[in-house]
């Protein structure tokens, strides 16, 4: 896997197909790999300590084997799937885990993970749901506590210079990802939504330096492409957690191009930079709390104020239709989804709502609905 230094899109695909392998390899070599959930975990602290951040994924379509004995059936299926993998030992290469309190499922999962899995290191960051002035001050303190907790675990301090360097590396990564997204603006897009997912999902499972190399090689390759013209509808995929390219592939297989997303594993994870001119912890607090569009952060205002960024995406990526995707049992997303749909309709954009089981996605049923949706879009175009 070290030789995936071939990179490019084929390298990205291989890395995606063997997710976790590179991190396991690093763990074998003595590097400490720390698993984390959510786009709210400030991975810069881990990078600054030379720990490898690894975003914990579930397994779309993979039958659950052990989790029913440990976790209730009526909770977030993504969480159940990820925890099932941990119970099966698939995350044994992790030295520790960081689970931010972002939603009810994450809050409870932390205790459950610590009780059963007993990792060498565990920490939960309380992420404010509000974005009042005091919320940022609190979050800055909470990140300072996280920093001290990591320092105690690692037995060495996080040097501010090294932290700034980590911020720069991750900002570079964000800029490269946005550059890649720009290549999806053309018609047809220079890369498919499925390919984008291969690249994006890799990014949170390998050290940021390696990921930046991968991104550069992919961008270089994609820039050289001369795609055949097509007039497939251009879709935006809006939802919470999608950590499997097959979800996007099934949509594109219905003769559509998924060219933009608002996912916590997609644009949301990479969109906003950390201000490199500010004191690092303060800048991280501002970026991770202020730059989020996840429904687990309360943002005041009417729909056009809260979801206006989706309108901007739709304009800039020339979107023909929007898929709103919610994982079952996700209260935060289910409470926002109708308003997102209202707003998209206000923008005269056709919208399709998909509620998913994650573990057993109803792909056949999806296909029928997506095909009907695409017909609607075609009819409007005509």
């Amino acid at each position: 896997m070290t030789e995936t230094a071939m990179w490019g899109m084929e390298g990205a695909r291989l890395l995606y197909e063997h997710r976790g392998e590179r991190a396991r390899e690093l763990a074998k070599q003595g590097r400490e790999v720390i698993g984390y959930f959510c786009a709210y975990t400030p991975v810069e602290f881990l990078t600054a300590l030379d720990l490898v951040p690894y975003r914990i994924h579930g397994g779309v379509g993979r039958p659950l084997e052990k989790v029913d004995e440990y976790l209730e059936t009526i909770v977030c299926p993504y969480v159940r799937s990820a925890f099932d993998m941990a119970l099966r030992g698939e995350y044994n290469f992790l030295s520790g885990v960081v689970i931010p309190h972002t939603c009810d499922a994450m809050h409870r999962l932390y205790d459950i993970w610590m009780y059963y899995i007993k990792p060498g290191y565990g920490h939960s960051i309380t992420v404010p749901h509000m974005t009042h002035k005091a919320s940022f001050e609190y979050f800055r303190n909470e990140l300072a506590t996280f920093r001290r907790s990591l320092e105690r675990y690692a037995g060495r301090p996080i040097d501010n210079g090294r932290l700034r360097e980590a911020i720069r590396e991750h900002n570079r990564c964000r800029r490269l990802v946005r550059e890649l997204y720009d290549l999806r603006k053309s018609q047809p897009p220079a890369l498919s939504g499925t390919e984008a997912m291969w690249v994006l999902l890799n990014g949170t499972t390998i050290p940021v330096g390696e990921y930046n190399d991968l991104l550069e090689s992919v961008i270089e390759e994609v820039r050289r492409r001369k795609p055949e013209p097509d007039d497939k509808p251009r879709l935006m995929f809006v939802g919470s957690e999608v950590d499997d390219a097959s979800v996007i592939h099934h949509i594109e297989d219905c003769e559509a191009n998924v060219v933009m997303d608002d996912l916590c594993t997609g644009s949301r994870h990479f969109w906003v930079d950390v201000d490199e001119t500010k004191e690092p912890v303060e800048a991280l607090a501002e970026r991770y709390l202020g730059g989020r569009t996840c429904p687990c952060t309360y943002r005041s205002g009417i729909a056009s104020e809260r979801f206006g960024y989706l309108g901007e995406y739709a304009r800039d990526w020339d979107i023909d239709g929007v898929l709103v995707y919610a994982i079952r049992f996700c209260d935060t997303y289910q409470l926002d989804a109708p308003e997102i749909q209202d707003y998209m309709q206000e923008l005269k954009l056709p919208v399709l709502y998909l509620e998913d089981d994650y573990v057993k996605p109803a792909l056949g049923q999806w296909r029928t609905r997506v095909e009907a949706f695409l017909e609607t879009i075609e009819a409007r175009k005509e």
Binding site: E72, I74, Y110, D111, Y115, E137, R328, D336
Partner: protein, 439 residues
Amino acid sequence: MTQQTGEKTSSRKFTESAGKIRTVVKRMYKQAQQAKEENRPIAYCMVMCNYEEILAAMDIVQVYTENYAGLCAVKRQAAVYMDKARAEGYSELLCGYAQVGIGFDAMRYELGEMPPDAPDGGMPEPDMLLGCSMGCDPRWKWYQALGRYKNTPIYNMDLLMPQSDANIDEIEEYSVRYMAEELRGLIAFLEEQTGGKMDYDRLMAIVRQVEETRWWWREAYELRKAIPCPMTTQDHFVLFVPHHMMLTDEFTLEFYKGLYDELKERVDNGIGAIDDEKYRLLWGVGIPPWHSMYILDYFLNFGAVFAAETAYMVPEPYDIPDRVDDPVEMIARRMFVRNSSLQRRGRAAGNVPALAMAHLERIEDFSLDGVVMHVTRSCRASTMGQIMVRNVIRDRYPNMPVMFLESDIVDVDTFSDTEAKNRIDTFMEMVEARKGSTK
């Protein structure tokens, strides 16, 4: 089971105090409706947000929306509102309380008037919506969804629940500071909405009265350690109402004093909820099935009483420090101390998760023989972690019977009378066997 109105869904009550609650609830909604007619400011609220004293000091009339959903379930009138919410695009898996509340307001918006036959006359139209983050996500998300039906100002605030293994001393000061700022933000919001000014002396006096009220409720609750137990959870699940929804009323203080006197007399005279108490149970984490509370009476057939709960718990003791003269800081500090006390004790007990710690303490303190938890389909926050709690209990008490009752907080269609009774039969056999073997 289909949802029908008019069926008896409630459970037996064993105290005179509990018998008064239905009248109290009716009066509470009537007073809120009257306040609306008098143009007094009305707020939609969530229980246990620690803003009750502040609202009372600003003369805001409090209407508790979660509990209105519970009332609709008790009266088997929740389905019509849930159906409306689903028709509005909300998932059938969304929090049941939120489904009922959103459906109710969507219906009122559509009709332009109070939905017909709304239980107890319905919730009056609010002038403000006040959410908070403690407990679960819908408690700060639900009111924003109401923006589709009303343009009512919202103030949401964070209340912190530290993780089980948090270093409490390390996070205490900045956590208290944050919550105090959130409360100050609320006061500024209320002043802006009402044009009034907070009277901090009045607020402090209300805070002191509330702590006295809680002292009496706690003292009354402690009397349930007696064998036989003077009242059961059937009573508890209505007796919490004055505390949770009328906390600052003089009536509430007198109510819990009365409850204490009533239970004390029963304990002094050896009077139990039932004549032949054989088994003492814990109602563990999980909001009860409001639509079918009668099922709790089925345990009585076995001589089993619920002597304690970990749902709608009495707040932990808190001594008001002499030197604190800022009531806002005091409320924030009190909140933090209470929200972190189980964490502190859990860590001291060998890193027992806070949720499980509450159960272990009750089992020990109330001499319990078994635990029942309610798996509620639409309430993840009160359900997730139940299996872990059972396992922690069994780490400490290897043969302790633990039962999971499955349905929902409001949706009666999730409930099967036959299945529930079959499970209870099996569970009680285990309780009997364990008790027999430990005699």
